[in-house]
Symmetry: C2
Subunit: 442 residues, 2 copies
C-alpha cells in the first residue's frame, strides 16, 4: 500500500492550521453579523444550465454523475457551484415570498472550479460572501457599506493590510462609448489583462482584436492609469475630454462611494479605473482587494453591483456584494509560515491518570472542569507520568493536573514555566489567554 498523496488544487491543512483558519472564519462571521447580515447556505450544486448562463467560467465547471447511473436516468444535469453569488441569486428568486427585503446575507462555503491549479488558485476553495438584495431600487448607500465592512473585517484579521480598489462599470462603459467603442465587453476583457501583460501588449490587442484606433487604445490606457485615494479621479476623467450620461452617472456613484469612506484610514480605499472584474453580471460599482506585499497573488476579495442578476418575475431585484477569498489568504500565509495557531489542540488541561482505580473520580473531575468552560482531556491509561506529560508537551497542552499523592492535594504544572503548585481542583482556572489556542502571525 503506497502512502496517499495530495491532490493538486485541493488544499488540506494540519490541525494547527485548521484551528487558525477556523478562528479567521469566526472573526469574519462576527463582523458580518455585527452589520446585521444573516447567514444562509445554499446547496453545493446547481442545474448546469443555470451555471452556464452567466460569467465566463463555463469550461471550469465540475459536472456530477452518479457512478452507476446510465447516461439519461437523471432529469437534470448538476454541476458544483463555482461561486456563491449565482446560487444566492437563484435562492432569492426561489424563496422570495419568505424573505424580507432589503435582504442582507452572508455565506461562508466552499466553491469549485476545474482550473489549472497554481499558487492562490485552487480547485476547491472557501469563500466568505456578503450581499444585499432589494426590491426595485438598491440605494447607493450599500455601495459604500460593502467596502466599509470589508475594511472592518480584513483589518481585524492578523494578515497583511488589504487595499481595496474601487471602480464603476458605468465609468468604463460610458468612457468607451464616448470614444466610439462598439464592442465594450471585448475591450473590458482586454483591459482586464493589464496587470498580466502590460500596457503595450494591451494596446496591441485593443487594436488587433477590438479594432480600435491607436488613439482610442491610448485613451483606454489613459483612463486605466487613473488612480486616486479620494474623489479627485472624476476631474482626471473629465480632463480626458470624455462626456456622456452613463459616464456621468458612474462618476457620481463612485464619488459618492469615495466620499462615504473618508473616515477610513488614508490609502485603505483607492479609486482605480483599471478594475473591471471578469464576471459579466456586474453593472455598477466593482471592488477588488489586494494584500499589500502579496499583490501578485491576485485579488483576496472582490465583488460589485449586479442590477439584473436576480430573476424577479417582473420586479427588479438589484444586488451588491463582495467575496473574501479565505483559502487564497490562508493558503499564502500558511505556505510562507506567516500564520498558525499557538497549539494543535483546543485542550487546555490534561488530567493525568495515576491508576485504574482513580478513573471514575478523574472522569467526574474532567466533567466538572468542562462545565466550567475549561477544555479538558483525561489521559486514557494509567501510564508512567513521564509518558503522560510527554503527550501533553507534544500537543502543546499548557497545563497538566496531578491527582493527590499521599497526604497532599491536587497540583497543576504549567508546562512552559515548569512551575508546579497545589490547587483546589474545584475552583482552579487557567489564565484567560490559555483557554483556547490563539492566532500566531509572523
Amino acid at each position: 500500500m503506497k502512502k496517499p498523496t495530495a491532490l493538486s488544487g485541493f488544499p488540506e491543512w494540519l490541525p494547527e492550521q485548521r484551528i487558525a483558519e477556523q478562528k479567521i472564519i469566526d472573526t469574519i462571521r462576527t463582523k458580518f453579523e455585527s452589520f446585521g447580515f444573516a447567514p444562509i447556505e445554499t446547496r453545493s450544486v446547481e442545474p448546469l444550465e443555470h451555471l452556464l448562463k452567466k460569467g465566463e467560467t463555463d469550461k471550469e465547471i465540475y459536472v456530477l454523475r452518479r457512478l452507476q447511473s446510465t447516461e439519461h436516468d437523471e432529469n437534470t444535469n448538476l454541476g458544483l457551484h463555482y461561486d456563491l453569488t449565482l446560487p444566492f441569486a437563484r435562492y432569492v428568486a426561489q424563496f422570495r415570498d419568505q424573505l424580507q427585503f432589503p435582504l442582507k446575507r452572508y455565506q461562508i462555503q466552499k466553491a469549485w472550479r476545474g482550473e489549472r491549479p497554481q499558487e492562490g488558485r485552487y480547485r476547491e476553495f472557501l469563500q466568505a460572501d456578503i450581499d444585499v438584495v432589494m426590491e426595485r431600487q438598491l440605494p447607493i448607500h450599500f455601495d459604500g457599506e460593502i467596502p466599509m465592512l470589508l475594511h472592518e473585517v480584513l483589518s481585524s484579521l492578523p494578515i497583511p493590510k488589504v487595499q481595496i480598489l474601487v471602480n464603476n462599470r458605468k465609468i468604463l462603459d460610458g468612457a468607451y462609448q464616448a470614444i466610439g467603442v462598439s464592442d465594450v465587453p471585448t475591450v473590458l476583457r482586454i483591459v482586464d489583462k493589464l496587470d498580466k501583460i502590460g500596457e503595450s501588449a494591451v494596446a496591441e490587442l485593443l487594436e488587433r482584436q477590438a479594432a480600435l484606433t491607436s488613439a482610442q487604445a491610448q485613451t483606454c490606457l489613459a483612463l486605466a492609469r487613473i488612480r486616486t485615494p479620494n474623489a479627485s479621479f472624476a476631474d482626471a476623467v473629465r480632463a480626458l475630454g470624455l462626456r456622456g450620461d452613463t459616464l456621468e452617472t458612474g462618476l457620481n456613484e463612485l464619488v459618492y462611494v469615495m466620499e462615504s469612506l473618508r473616515a477610513l484610514p488614508e490609502g485603505t480605499v483607492i479609486a482605480d479605473l483599471r478594475i473591471a472584474r471578469g464576471f459579466d453580471y456586474y453593472t455598477g460599482t466593482v471592488y477588488e482587494g489586494l494584500m499589500v506585499g502579496h499583490e501578485k497573488l491576485g485579488a483576496v476579495c472582490s465583488g460589485g453591483r449586479y442590477d439584473d442578476l436576480v430573476e424577479g418575475g417582473g420586479t427588479k431585484l438589484p444586488g451588491i456584494g463582495a467575496s473574501i477569498g479565505v483559502s487564497r489568504i490562508v493558503g499564502r500565509l500558511f505556505g510562507q509560515g506567516l500564520l498558525t495557531a499557538s497549539r494543535p489542540t483546543p485542550t487546555c488541561v490534561l488530567i493525568t491518570l495515576p491508576s485504574e482505580e482513580a478513573r471514575a473520580e478523574a472522569l467526574l473531575l474532567a466533567h466538572s472542569m468542562r462545565r466550567r468552560g475549561i477544555n479538558t482531556e483525561l489521559f486514557h491509561e494509567p501510564a508512567k507520568f513521564d509518558k503522560q506529560i510527554r503527550y501533553a508537551e507534544r500537543k502543546g497542552i499548557p497545563y497538566v493536573l496531578f491527582f493527590p499523592s499521599e497526604g497532599g492535594g491536587f497540583e497543576v504544572r504549567d508546562l512552559r514555566t515548569r512551575v508546579q503548585a497545589p490547587i483546589d481542583a474545584n475552583v482552579w482556572t487557567p489564565a484567560e489567554s490559555d483557554r483556547v489556542p490563539s492566532l500566531v502571525s509572523k
Copy 2:
C-alpha cells in the same frame, strides 16, 4: 423565466433556520473542543478507487467530470466523499509524520450520496464527526468516551432525547461462529434489516440466502432480541449456550463500555445486540442513536471502532469514532415546525436615519455600537419613520434607535413592548438575551 425550484435531496433553509442550524453546530463544536478534539477539514473529493475500497455505498457515489474535459485528460477519477471517516483515514495516513497520537479530531462537513431521497435521507447532508486514532493499540477507554461525549453533546441541544444503542461486532462474529455460521457478513447484513422487515422475514432470508438451519436462524433472532440498560446482557448471551474466544472478548469490551457509562442518566445508553451498522470497516464497538419519538427517522448518530481502516505502513493505526447527522436532525425538526430561531437576522438594533445630513453621525454611532458588541444596522435612507420601523418589525429586530428631535436626546423603542425611552447612546446596552437570536424549540 420560470421560478427556480428545489432539488430533491438537496435541502436548503431559510435564514432563521440557518441561524438555528448554525447555533446547533456551534454547540456541537464547543462540546467537541471541551473534550480536546481538534478540528480538521478534508477536501470534498477522493480518488474513486479509495471510495470504492470500503463500505457498501459504491453505487451512490457522485463522480466529477470537468465540463470541457475529454474522457482521458485527467489522471485520477474523483468522487465526492460519502462520509467523513474514509477521508479522515486517508488524511491520517498521508500526514502521519506531522500528527500527534492519540489523534483526537472533529470534522463538521458536508457529504454526498446519490441515493433516492426520502425523509431524513439527503443527497447532500451535514455530518459532525469525532474520531480518535492511535498507533498500535487504542485503549478500550475510548470506546466509553465516545458515547459519553455523544450524550454530552446531544443532551445539550434543544432536540428530543437521543437514546444511544451500543453493540460489539465481536459479539456478533463470535456468536455466529459459535453456532457454525460460515458467511458472517451476509448474516450481519440480513439481521441489520430487522427494523425494516421484521423477525419472520429475517428468519426466512437467513435460511434461504445464508443457508442457515431453522435452529441457527432462531438463535440469531434470540441474540438480536437482547437489550439491556446495563451490563446484564452478557448473562443473557451466555444463557443462549454460546461460547468462544471472540465472543468473550466482545462481551468483556461491551461490559466495560456499559460499566464506564453508569454515571449517565438511566436509559441513556442501551446495550442492544441487534445493532450491526452497515459499513464493513467496523471491528468492535458499534453505536447507533435514535431520537425518542422519531425512531422511524433512522439513526441520528452512529459510529464504531475500526482497527484496520487507516493504512499505517506496517504499524497498526486503530480508530474509533461517531458521526452526528446534523441535516437529518434539523431537517426533521424544521419540517415539523419544532425548531427555529427567534428572528431571521442577527441585528439587535436598527438605527433610524432622520435625514441625509445625519448619515455621517449615524455611521459613527453604528460603528461605536458594533465595537461594543451590539449587532447594529443603519437604515439605508432617510425614509419616513413608519417605513423604517416597519422594516425592523418585519425582520424581528428588537430595538429601534431614534436620533434626537429638537431639544431632546437619543431614544430607544423596544418593538415588543412598544415602550420608548431616552438613552445615552454611548453606553446603552440591550438585554443580554436580545443580543443575538436564540433557539426556539416547541
